[in-house]
């Protein structure tokens, strides 16, 4: 299974090679005793975590807005009636309980659509961006697979897109994993060279969840439209934070997540263009709700919450944007002023300001995270934060192993305060300095030794 497209500088690699690297942990099948050992270890780690939780004196401050965001009180306020008195099934046709719930979800649909300048009929509610991505990628890939057997994505996508691609691959489709440049952005020329008449779908995320870089969505959309390829974008990290217009940007499918925009968890939406119509095979079948695309009773309170979150995001857009940019600048300036050898991962201009991924050279990321226990941070995405492996996103942008190992993601959101940022700067700087003083590598750098020239002996 090795496909190469003619006249292309980009290698189209089958999943067995790329994903073998990306999914080392998932694809290996451990033998029974190893499995037991693994389970035991997991249990121990869990117990340790819970014990630590009991010992906690203060709640840490929250700086992980890419993992999830606290719910806006205004959102909860709109949801609560639907969790108490207004409990009707929105699909009940025969009584007032159903009607009032139906009205609520249709109002919410309108609010979601308005935020991305779509028609309400083009919005389908799902359980979250993961489900939206699954429906978009697998659905479109499968529907058109008789005539078009090729799909495109990038190496820095979220796991749920990459995994869906892997499923398509096992069903006989060709998948191209576009590499990214060292700034995290894709090369449009490379994309153009891999778009063929055989291609049915191109899935590229708007803002990366780990490094916050912002892909040139309008240009990609234009390119895909010209080549008659459906363009799907995972906008979980960017809806409500960046201006999005699905018509102007030529987006055909777009995934939205509720809990990244101060809404409830367990709800998301998928935008599916009607003109030109995008057709797809549903994954979940049943009662035929949501235009047969996503069967299952629509959860009224969560949908109302998503609608409210979208409405507030639209109202507060300018204020949030200004505030987040200001705090991000404060954080970056504050740290880099007092700390040398700090690298901002990803393109410095084309990015969402609220996601600041910094690498502290000569400091081990894990030890820094352990030291910064009173600040809720992560080294990358929450989905992969259990493993000690450096993130595949950082590896894809060509970061050296040591840089990838020393990265920390700071997530700034609507409810982040100046005091929190200042506290984070102070703690980060002091711990980085302390850890570096303990490091022999740092000592060598201070003496002017270039670490790259050293030949380490093999153990």
């Amino acid at each position: 299974m090795f496909h190469i497209i003619k006249n292309s500088s980009v290698k189209t690699i089958s999943f067995s090679t790329v994903s073998g690297r990306l999914y080392r942990g998932l694809s290996s099948k451990p033998n029974p005793s190893e499995k037991d050992q693994q389970e035991n270890d997991e249990k121990k780690v869990k117990q340790q975590k819970y014990q630590e939780l009991e010992k906690l004196q203060y709640r840490p401050l929250y700086l992980d807005a890419q993992a999830t965001t606290p719910m806006d009180p205004r959102v909860l306020d709109q949801m609560l009636p639907y969790m108490t008195h207004l409990y009707g099934n929105p699909h009940s046709r025969t009584h007032a309980f159903g009607w009032e719930s139906e009205k609520a979800i249709e109002d919410a649909r309108e609010k979601v659509a308005k935020l991305i300048n779509a028609d309400p009929k083009e919005i389908v509610f799902t359980s979250g961006a993961t489900e939206s991505n699954n429906i978009a990628v697998k659905g479109v890939g499968r529907f058109y697979k008789e005539k078009k057997k090729h799909v495109i994505t990038t190496q820095t996508e979220h796991k749920c897109v990459l995994d869906s691609m892997r499923v398509l691959e096992s069903e006989g489709l060709k998948v191209t994993y576009l590499p990214v440049k060292t700034n995290g952005l894709i090369d449009l020329k490379e994309l153009e060279s891999v778009l063929t008449p055989e291609t049915s779908l191109c899935s590229i995320m708007m803002v990366n969840n780990e490094i916050g870089v912002r892909q040139p969505i309008s240009e990609i959309g234009k390119l895909c439209r010209a080549k008659k390829v459906f363009f799907h974008t995972d906008a979980a990290q960017s809806v409500g934070k960046l201006p999005i217009d699905v018509n102007e940007m030529n987006i055909d499918l777009l995934s939205i997540s509720g809990h990244k925009i101060y809404g409830p968890k367990g709800i998301g939406a998928l935008y599916i263009r009607r003109r030109p119509r995008v057709r797809l095979d549903p994954i979940q079948t049943g009662g035929g709700q949501e235009r047969n695309i996503r069967s299952g009773t629509v959860p009224t309170p969560l949908v109302v919450g998503l609608g409210a979150a979208c409405e507030i995001a639209q109202q507060e857009f300018a204020n949030d944007e200004k505030r987040v940019a200001q705090l991000a600048k404060r954080l970056i300036d504050g740290i880099t002023k007092q700390c040398p050898h700090v690298i901002l991962n990803g393109d410095p201009q084309a990015r969402y300001a609220g996601c600041v991924n910094l690498s502290f050279a000569y400091v081990e990321g894990e030890s820094l995270l352990m030291a910064l226990k009173d600040i809720a941070l992560s080294s990358g995405s929450a989905c992969t934060s259990a493993s000690l492996e450096p993130s595949y996103v950082l590896r894809a942008i060509g970061a050296d192993e040591d840089i990838a190992h020393s990265s920390i993601r700071f997530g700034i959101g609507r409810f982040t305060t100046e005091a929190e940022v200042d506290y984070t700067i102070e703690k980060t700087v002091s711990h980085v300095t302390r850890l570096r003083e303990m490091s022999p590598l740092w000592e060598m750098v201070q003496e002017g030794i270039d670490l790259k020239t050293i030949k380490w002996s093999q153990h």
């Binding site: 906690l56 709640r59 401050l61 009180p73 909860l76 609560l80 005091a419």
Partner: protein
Amino acid sequence: MNSAKQPAIILYRQLLRECHKFSLYNYRDYFLRRVREEFHQNRNVKDSSKTAELLKRGQENLEIIRRQVIIGNLYTPHQRSICDNHEHSFIASR
């Protein structure tokens, strides 16, 4: 102080007083800041229909904040936030 401004000032004070009651400091900080920004931004609005609309929106938000303060305070965790502690010691030292 003219009489036209009176309702706005009353509402402003009510909003600030209520925002102070949020037990989660992130919410407290955010809503205090937003209330101040919003009133500052609209302080020169003269059009009476516009002021009526703004006052109505403010009143609605006051109701929301009142309800949410009550709900939030029902489920306050045992530990205080590290930043809350920081803030208090900062205020105490002044």
